[in-house]
């Protein structure tokens, strides 16, 4: 029983992390139809920043990581994606692949292939025992952080004028432009928010591992992208739910599969993904057949 609870908390936290990462991808996709694979390198940049600046104190390190992530996200948009507005989602995906590969090699050149380590927020790495159930502080913190960010984002998207504009653009970019929503501002905003979410993901994953290498953000981005697509990348809530589902499933499989089978946990997740795509190509959360915008 306590083992079940423990694995449930772990899975919730893994789901929350991937949900945030998928949301970072989904926010941008909704506006310019770019499934940005290089989101992983934004996460890596945030993680490196945390590792290198942690000794200056968390109140410096965390804001600094957010700033770096947001700036890198905006830089990607300005230097590459803003010049590719006419490209298809498939071409945009390939371009983001290239960007991701490029940044990984730049990190390799700058920080070597070895992992950089620092005890980032090591207080959170402890476990506490509640009624016989050992629970990682980090898992609780991750779930809380995700809840706060999602509430904030929800308020922003429904209350603030700028947020409403973004929400409208994500729902239907063409119509949004027609009614006078400034395209460049909304696109920039989506990249900036994506950067903030990536920084949050960077924080929880860096606390978890304490070590960052050039390809740090890749595995999480692969799963987040896959999750966003099966949840329905066309809808912000779809991306979030899909990411959560994939994270939850991966974590549960890791806790409950016997050792010799848990090696294959990603293979099971990918098969699940293919199955979901076949049954609901438009995404789990999109009602009806829904026109699959390509």
């Amino acid at each position: 029983m306590s083992q079940l609870l423990q694995s449930l908390v772990d899975a919730l936290s893994a789901g929350a992390t991937l949900g945030l990462a998928a949301l970072a991808i989904g926010l941008v996709f909704g506006v310019i139809r770019l499934a940005n694979f290089a989101t992983g390198e934004i996460i890596t940049a945030g993680a490196y920043t945390l590792i290198f600046t942690w000794q200056l104190g968390w109140y410096i390190s965390i804001p600094f990581a957010i700033i770096v992530a947001v700036l890198l996200s905006l830089l990607m948009e300005l230097s590459v994606f803003s010049r590719m507005r006419a490209a298809t989602p498939a071409t945009l995906l390939i371009a983001s692949f290239g960007l991701s590969f490029l940044l990984q090699r730049v990190y390799e050149l700058a920080f070597t292939n070895n992992v950089q380590t620092a005890p980032v927020a090591s207080e959170l790495a402890q476990s506490i025992s509640i009624g016989g159930v050992r629970i990682q502080m980090l898992s609780v913190a991750t779930i809380l952080l995700a809840a706060i960010l999602l509430t904030g984002l929800q308020l922003f998207l429904t209350r603030a004028s700028l947020g409403l504009q973004l929400k409208a653009a994500a729902a239907d970019f063409k119509t949004a432009r027609l009614i006078g929503i400034p395209a460049s501002r909304v696109i920039g905003l989506s990249f900036a928010l994506s950067g903030i979410l990536a920084a949050a993901v960077a924080f929880v994953t860096t606390v978890q591992t304490g070590a960052v290498g050039p390809t740090f953000g890749v595995p999480i981005t692969i799963l987040a992208l896959v999750g966003a697509v099966i949840g329905g990348i066309d809808k912000i809530s779809g991306a979030l739910a899909g990411g959560f589902l994939v994270g939850f499933a991966t974590s549960m499989l890791a806790s409950w599969l016997p050792q010799d089978m848990s090696n294959f946990k990603d293979a099971y997740v990918f098969m699940l993904v293919i199955g979901v795509l076949l049954m609901r190509p438009q995404g789990l959360l999109i009602r009806g057949r829904g026109a699959v915008r390509t």
Binding site: R83, A90, A95, G98, N263, D266, V273, L277
Partner: protein, 353 residues
């Protein structure tokens, strides 16, 4: 008039002959430049075959696939298992299914079987995956690659234990043989372009709605293209196994997928010549960068670039290409007979997008 109709018939053939000549000439030049460059040229030809496989599917159908490297991987695995000495297999890969210890095949048979295994995998998954479009197809084929690389990494019943690699693949393939296989593959790809499924798929790629209205059921055609390109990718995997002679699942994963896609985009996705020009140009840039990394003497100077700069330049080339010339070096066209003006190939739509 007779002359014109002869030209008309030979004209398309020129698009094949020119490609064969280019590959032959580049190989010939490189074979004279020393052993190191010869080895790199062999890898370049293996990559070229993978890019041809990608073009046969992506270029013809317009559907994105990140999954072809999965077929490369199973092809490579097949050739590895069939060519390693049985005694060696028993010692190095002890966990394998017992029947795999004794199966052996001459290398050429093994490469063909590798192709067939690649094609078989494509036929099995094709009917499911080919129903998807656009981003969904990309993600689903990516998931296929994920499944295959996990299985090859961890399933020690069909290969090495995880973290170890398959060694002992015989050294039987030289540059000349590699080139011959490559030329045969190019002929196959060219012939495939002129078949009915390929034509129907190109029509559907240009205008899905009009194609559907003309009664084209696109899914079975896509499965055929997927299977044929899967065979070619499997052969490429076999060539990779015999060239590299050490196999590890991690070599045949996301990075190879990225590099071969970059080559295809560089040359132009829509034409076979795009695939070949892209692969060759990319490999030539790579060759120059490798030389520069180790330092090149120009007069009294030694010109060199830092280690690790090579992949950065290659990635910049890809991104620059996507920004400034998204249709690739060839612009999606095939080569035409130089003395015939404004004559696009019959059956090959000239696209300007």
């Amino acid at each position: 008039m007779a002359q014109k109709s002869l030209m008309w018939r030979l004209g398309p053939l020129w698009s094949l002959v020119s490609l064969l000549l280019i590959v032959y000439a580049v190989t010939l030049v490189n074979s004279r430049l020393g052993d190191g460059i010869q080895v790199q040229m062999r890898y370049a030809l293996v990559n070229l075959v993978i890019v041809v496989a990608l073009q046969m599917f992506i270029g013809t159908s317009g559907v994105l696939s990140f999954g072809h490297v999965a077929f490369v991987a199973v092809g490579a695995w097949t050739v590895g298992l069939l060519t390693i000495d049985p005694e060696l297999k028993r010692n190095l890969l002890p966990d394998m299914f017992p029947f795999l210890f004794d199966v052996q095949a001459p290398w050429l048979v093994a490469v063909i079987l590798g192709g067939l295994v690649g094609g078989l995998l494509a036929v099995i998954v094709g009917p499911f995956l080919m129903r998807l479009n656009g981003l969904q197809a990309g993600i689903a084929t990516f998931a296929l690659l994920g499944v295959v690389s996990q299985v090859l990494t961890y399933w020690s019943s069909i290969g090495p234990r995880s973290g170890q690699s398959m060694v002992g693949i015989p050294d039987v393939l030289n540059l000349q043989t590699t080139m011959l296989i490559t030329l045969v593959i190019i002929v196959i790809a060219w012939l495939f372009q002129r078949t009915k499924p390929a034509r129907l798929l190109r029509a559907a790629r240009e205008d899905p709605i009009a194609a559907a209205a003309s009664g084209i059921n696109v899914v079975p055609q896509r499965v055929i293209a997927f299977a044929v390109s899967g065979v070619v990718a499997g052969v490429a995997g076999g060539m990779f196994a015999l060239t590299n002679r050490v196999l590890q699942a991690s070599q045949l994963g996301i990075e190879l997928t990225f590099i071969t896609l970059a080559m295809l985009v560089l040359g132009g996705v829509l034409s076979l010549s795009g695939a070949i020009v892209g692969a060759l140009v990319f490999s030539l840039i790579d060759l120059v960068l490798v030389q520069l990394q180790s330092g090149v003497d120009i007069g009294s100077f030694v010109v060199s670039i830092p280690q690790g700069a090579r992949p950065i330049v290659l990635a910049l080339v890809l991104i620059g290409m996507l920004l400034w010339r998204p249709s690739g070096l060839t612009g999606g066209r095939e080569f035409v007979w130089p003395f015939r003006k404004h004559a696009p190939l019959p059956g090959n739509p000239v696209t300007n997008d």
